[in-house]
Symmetry: C2
Subunit: 330 residues, 2 copies
DNA sequence: TTGAAAGCGCTAACAA
DNA sequence: TTGTTAGCGCTTTCAA
């Protein structure tokens, strides 16, 4: 016996009204006589009727779903972004379709294009150069972009990376560090801003950073980069890492090489992931408020889906969180 | 000017064929004369036609989407599960709708019921007692369950928690530990199995564990539980924690209390999250192969959607990963 | 206050 | 090889 799900027609028939009436009642677009409403209600209850969201979407063109694409769900920064976005979405009755591009921009376009027809809007955290993302606005769906788009005309949410980097570098300088290095991940859109912040703060003192490049925004890359930084001819007395993951890897490798943080070198990262506080020494970090970023992006997207005007760029500010991986230099 | 998207009818008209022909061609359910195929192709290209997945789903009843519900996306264990599941889904052309129940079972049912009509199947990682989840099979959608269902008749994927706990406890015993304690999280379905494994291994030596209960499966709960464990009258010489997060928190608090791990106490966790290796000392852990679990669950679900027979229970085995938080006792 | 009827964009028999 | 024709389950004028 095939158990068919009840349709609006079944309800209408059983309640002795038209499908139009049921539809309007269910969506509370119109009130009816209490007799009718009661009848419909009880039939719905009895039949266990639930409207078919597909059919509904087909007509209304709205799916109550949002596509969210991140670079790597395994990175706690992105996890927090997802958390924040998801929370807001849920509160508004939306569900999140997750796209993890796994740091491979190749599939990104394909995935998002396929997704675009199944969602009411998308939030995109991408590494692809803006100039190669013309297809995104062309999808003709409300979208929010993470970062500071210069070419793309899309509402965006961004952290203030340059200011964050400036702040932490300035702090390091104030604490007496003079040989500040930056371990970056040049492939990232944010890398330039962070480096600029470091440069800016140092330039005020007539200094410049040594710059190192990691091969990925991961702990492993941080580990690998360590020896070149610490065992070079002019080892720095402070290191600003592109993110906490790299900093964590660096910390581990430094210890294995026999260096002591922060005595030999102060280390800071970005993102303030929770695991920074469980490292030894606990990691000083620039908190970009990842979860708030995700929430802000979702809020913005929902507002724009709702037809509201949204400002072009929302900047979430950075906050320096001091822990034990930084110290004062004589 | 309203830019309308091309429908199958537009394509059919422009190519001088019927919509049925276009449909069959697009879905490659049938071949046509090369002249016709060429004409359709070029029209599709020209009009930028893409089939409307909603309309398609409404008819076929398949959405090419899978609902995946986890307890807390912020926990790296779940993150890895999502990663594994997502990878398999993507490879099969499915997208993942993420549901983060945030450890609050209240919304779970509501969220999943709403989701069930928009997905072809679901994977559920839940904390709700099985007896209260009758609604899940009632949703009448293929589903895969994480754990070992006894009441629910659902295909499942599970780690071998008891064996994992047995292994690590046995190892601790072999290394000379005699006062092994367990810091659990009784709300979890897995807690009982892990504790049973600890008990089993200890019983072989005529020993029994001291059992402590954490208030959440988080690092913070691990921190909080620390003092009661270390400063009690009979402090243990080894502690098995419910998961790595709790172990990490414990490690931190223990250090703050002036204890030394592993000299004063050996500590192990479950999940083998990547951040365990960045703690000091690096955390010994039972690797449950979270990512593989996610992948296995998705594979199983897709197979069952595909109409294949799937075995009731897939067990992913646990592997002990030794690091520096455990040692040998005299 | 209620209902009839025309679709939304597509697929799937079935015909030709 | 191609087309005709019913719908899928629902919303939405528009009329009663």
């Amino acid at each position: 016996m095939k158990k068919r799900v009840a349709t609006i027609r079944d309800v209408a028939a059983a309640a002795g009204v038209s499908t139009a009436t049921v539809s309007k009642f269910v969506n509370s677009t119109q009130r009816f006589s209490s007799a009718v409403e009661a009848r419909i209600s009880s039939v719905i209850e009895e039949l266990g009727y639930r409207s078919n969201p597909m059919a509904q979407s087909m007509i209304t063109g709205r799916t109550k779903a949002i596509g969210l694409s991140v670079l790597d769900i395994t990175n706690p920064h992105f996890t927090s972004v997802v958390k924040g976005a998801n929370r807001v979405a849920q509160a508004h009755g939306y569900t999140v379709l997750l796209v993890d591009t796994e740091e491979t921009p190749g599939r990104e376009r394909q995935l998002l294009e396929a997704l675009s027809r199944r969602v009411d809007g998308m939030i995109v955290y991408s590494r692809t150069p803006e100039e190669e993302m013309d297809w995104l606005p062309a999808l003709n769906r409300p979208a929010v972009y993470f970062g500071r788009p210069e070419y793309l005309k899309l509402p965006a949410v961004s952290s203030d990376d340059q200011l964050g980097a400036f702040m932490v570098t300035r702090h390091l300088a104030t604490q007496g560090h003079r040989r500040v290095a930056y371990l970056g991940f040049p492939n990232s859109r944010r890398d330039g801003e962070r480096l600029a912040g470091v440069r800016e703060a140092l330039a005020a003192l007539g200094l410049a950073p040594a710059v190192f490049a990691g091969e990925a925004p991961t702990a492993l890359a941080g580990e690998k980069a360590c020896s070149a930084i610490l065992l070079g001819r002019q080892p720095p007395d402070a290191l600003v890492c592109f993110n906490d993951l790299m900093a964590l890897g660096f910390l581990k490798a430094a210890r294995e090489l026999g260096f002591r943080v922060p005595d030999d070198i102060s280390v800071v990262g970005f993102d303030n992931i929770q695991f920074g506080s469980f490292a030894t020494p606990a990691l000083t970090s620039v908190d970009l408020q990842s979860e708030r970023m995700g929430a802000a992006a979702m809020q913005k997207l929902l507002a724009s889906i709702d037809g509201q005007e949204v400002e072009a760029l929302t900047v979430i500010d950075a906050q320096l969180v001091l822990r034990d991986s930084t110290t004062t230099r004589a």
